[in-house]
């Protein structure tokens, strides 16, 4: 019979709607200000003793604690009052010491039964709610030292290649120094090097034997610093995007600082660890008997501090050559990182491994860290940062055959470590170490007045659409409005599930999607009106839906194609917009084609009507 759905279709639609309501529900619960504590490295862990130490400290300081919980090695302490949040963070950080990361957080208060089905609320963006503000300082001296080291090693090669012997080579104070046996060697070296290195000024010094001093020009120093900050900016953007935080803010501030603002992210402690991480990899051959002593370096294993291995000083490639990385598990269920190298990296790796089949190759994990210590200088307490580097072998394996640009590494502690390593390899390494200079909560960038007006205009817009539909399509307008409500619920549920971030333009975008979602209904209703000339009412409804279908399908598929491509290529705000748009298209096609059809069938289907209220 025309215009009747079987029972299962009604039930299916009802089921989808109920699931939608459940997953949209968490957005009705407000968020609590909180501090989040997690272990900074694998040697510490968070447990009840840490929580009780922190809660005692906070209670003594008169900070009201709402509740605390421990989940997956991460403690969350909820506070009553958001103005005490920063103070609470500082106190907790002080009482726990170096081994822990303490971060500000906005914790959702979704009830347990909703959490157990994975429901969570949407984040509100920086403009509506604010978030966490990290100020990172780029270590410029380290950037310059790194560049000097690279240059010095290339110069040593050049000198060795030409047979010019030097006695000593040091770097520091923006300069590279070579001491020679006699002035003749020095002038030879000077002629040779000055041809290649024009970002240095050359001068002679005879204080400690004939010395050649190559000082970086001011221009070169500025270029290096600029490059370091910009490169770090790009890397941080990549990392923040990899974290899945939509609508973040990453921008340069002043000559050597970078601001990262994240809207109330779920796991700020993780964000902090990822944003600040400087981990990289080096691939080196194990030293053989023929390797001379000054070409060897001994390293400890990360998993087993007592075990050591001597590696060659020469590096085959570093993690910078990695073009893609992902995690998986090996046959024994241990985490592994699958690595793809870029073109030059692949051929370097291939050359090195082909010539050394049967030897061992080590993967070295390198992390630049800083320790903060308080020292008394001129009677004042000053915080001093001491940078240090941790290097440890994560795997040492025999080269069975020549490697290409795809291979995998094992030997990582945990799936979390594997995941973070692959994220860091994907997003690129930092050109210079960075450290946290400041961490604060930041208020919404829009005034309350602006937010209120925005929300109000959105509600007015929505009511206007609903009213318009009823006026123009009467009974069918009511059906369209019901379908629209289902659409809005499903859209909010889908965005919450994906962890999308809601900004004011985002909300306006949702309403706009609704304005356009009406389109599918309008197409159908106009077509029904048209088909009513010369057809029975039931037939007109049936043909109306049928004929409008190709138009709805083609129009929505083309727009969906645009959205999918914007999503896969765009970053940041463009990506966020693409998500809203594609979800909006999917839910509106579903509601216009299935839900509104079902409602129509339910109300008028199969009845003999003389007149249609459209």
């Amino acid at each position: 019979m025309l215009n009747r759905y079987p029972l299962w279709k009604y039930l299916l639609i009802l089921l989808v709607f109920i699931v939608g309501v459940l997953y949209a529900l968490p957005n009705l619960y407000p968020k609590d200000p909180a501090i989040q504590i997690s272990a900074a490295n694998s040697s510490t862990s968070v447990g009840d003793s840490q929580i009780s130490r922190v809660t005692q400290t906070l209670e003594q300081a008169g900070i009201d604690i709402k509740s605390h919980e421990l989940d997956n090695d991460t403690a969350l302490i909820r506070l009553e009052n958001s103005s005490q949040q920063t103070a609470a963070r500082d106190m907790a950080s002080q009482s726990l010491g170096q081994g822990y990361t303490v971060a500000l957080n906005l914790a959702d208060s979704t009830p347990q039964w909703l959490q157990s089905i994975g429901a969570k609320p949407m984040n509100l963006g920086l403009d509506l709610r604010g978030g966490v503000h990290f100020l990172l300082e780029v270590d410029m001296d380290a950037a310059i030292d790194q560049r000097l080291d690279v240059n010095a090693s290339a110069m040593r090669d050049t000198l060795r290649g030409e047979g010019i012997r030097y006695r000593n080579n040091t770097t520091g104070d923006n300069a590279i120094r070579f001491t020679f046996a006699n002035a003749e060697d020095r002038s030879q070296a000077r002629t040779l090097l000055s041809r290649q290195y024009n970002e240095f000024t050359f001068s002679n010094n005879d204080d400690a034997g004939p010395t050649l001093v190559l000082t970086l020009t001011e221009q070169a120093v500025n270029d290096i610093q600029d490059y370091a900050v910009n490169q770090n900016l790009t890397t941080l953007r990549n990392r923040v995007n990899e974290l899945g935080v939509s609508e973040p803010l990453v921008q340069r501030q002043g000559p050597n600082r970078i601001v990262v603002e994240l809207p109330g992210v779920q796991d700020t402690a993780e964000a902090k660890r990822i944003v600040g991480a400087t981990a990289n990899l080096e691939f080196r051959l194990e030293a053989s008997d023929s390797t001379s002593a000054d070409q060897q370096q001994a390293f400890e294993f990360r998993s087993d501090a007592g075990r050591k291995a001597a590696l060659e000083r020469d590096v085959i490639i570093t993690g910078d050559r990695v073009s893609n990385a992902s995690t998986s598990f090996d046959d024994n269920g241990r985490p592994q990182v699958n690595i793809n190298l870029d073109g030059p990296g692949g051929s370097q790796m291939n050359r090195a491994t082909r010539a050394n089949i049967g030897r061992n190759m080590a993967v070295l994990y390198i992390e630049h860290k800083t320790r903060t210590r308080t020292v008394t200088r001129d009677g004042e307490q000053v915080e001093e940062r001491v940078p240090y580097t941790e290097r440890g072998i994560i795997s040492l394996a025999t080269i069975q055959s020549a490697l290409g640009n795809q291979f995998r590494i094992t030997g990582l502690d945990s799936p979390t470590e594997a995941r973070e390593l692959s994220l860091l390899l994907r997003s690129g390494s930092l050109a210079a170490p960075i450290y946290f200079a400041q961490e604060r909560t930041i208020g919404p960038s829009l005034g309350q007045q602006n937010i209120d007006r925005g929300i109000m205009s959105v509600i007015v817009g929505l009511i206007l659409v609903l009213a318009f539909m009823v006026v123009r399509y009467k009974g069918f307008g009511l059906i369209a409005n019901l379908a629209l409500t289902v659409n809005l619920t499903l859209l909010i549920a889908a965005m919450s599930l994906l962890g999308a971030t809601l900004t004011l333009p985002g909300i306006a975008g949702i309403v706009l999607t609704l304005g356009m979602a009406v389109d599918a209904n309008v197409l159908v209703f106009e077509r029904i009106r048209e088909e009513m000339r010369g057809r029975s009412i039931q037939q007109a409804i049936h043909t109306g839906y049928e004929r409008a279908f190709t138009a709805i399908l083609d129009a929505n598929i083309t727009t969906l194609l645009v959205a999918i491509i914007l999503f896969s290529i765009g970053t940041g705000p463009v990506k966020g917009f693409a998500v809203t748009l594609s979800l909006g298209i999917l839910t509106s096609v579903f509601t216009a084609v299935m839900v509104s059809r079902a409602l129509t069938n339910l109300v008028v289907g199969g009845k003999s009507l003389k007149k249609l209220w459209i």
Binding site: G443, S457, L464, A555, L561, I569
Partner: protein, 302 residues
Amino acid sequence: MTQIDFMGKRKAAYIISILLTVIAIGALAVKGLSLGLDFTGGTQVEVSYAQAPSLDDVRDELGEAGFGNYSVQTFGADTDVLVRLQQTFDEGIGQQVIGALRAQGEQVDLVRAEYVGAQVGDQLRDQSGLGMLIALGVVALYVAFRFQYKFALGALISLGHDVVILLGFFALFGFDFDLTVLAAVLAVIGYSLNDTIIVYDRIRENIRRSQSNDLIRIFNDAINQTLSRTLSTSGTTLLVLLALFFLGGDMIHNFSLALIVGVVLGTFSSIYVAAAMLLLVKLEREDLIPAKRENAVEDELP
């Protein structure tokens, strides 16, 4: 059903379209887009009050002192305030801001004033540009596959027409082009494409059903048949946008403006650019009706 001779007036529409496009390209070339704080960066000033201020008062004071395009946020504590300005950083700007904020005799101290870079990196800009081109290419392929390549050509030109004129409009009047406006432009692309495909769908259907070779008549019929749908949809969308424009406040003002212009353009172009282009590229009945004409007709019988 209304019968308006849309195609008969297409010469006038061509002139309007070409004129608008030329003005838009001229405005973009000469004046360029006036990019907002998100794209240009500017100055960031951190100040500390003795007593927690009302942020709305802070905004008013900055506005009165003649600063344009600023954001004001609390920073950590209620008494610390972060101000971002689009103005280029110079030595004196911190003191200027403090001066403006002390207008009512408040106790304010400058913590720091610094240059801030753009929120949108070059990478985002380049990738988005590339993404847009690929998206257009894929859409063209889809339309060519579902309709015919002449339709794809018309859809692309109509889309380009809308985007260029919209950008030109923002350049000409010097309205701020920020990330929200970028989002609006992307939405306009979706909307305009949607509108074009609806008209094309009806043209395709009418060509396949009718025996006539009078394309102008077929087009007019198709446009008239979809007219009440076009007006309904544009009407509801414009209703929402006007509400956002008049009631929504500063933040979504430019966003809704861009969309209002875009929706009007999209509606116009789906009729006069997208459909009229099909006449220019000499669409023929045979383009849509391959050898199996009889079958196609049979399918349509109820």
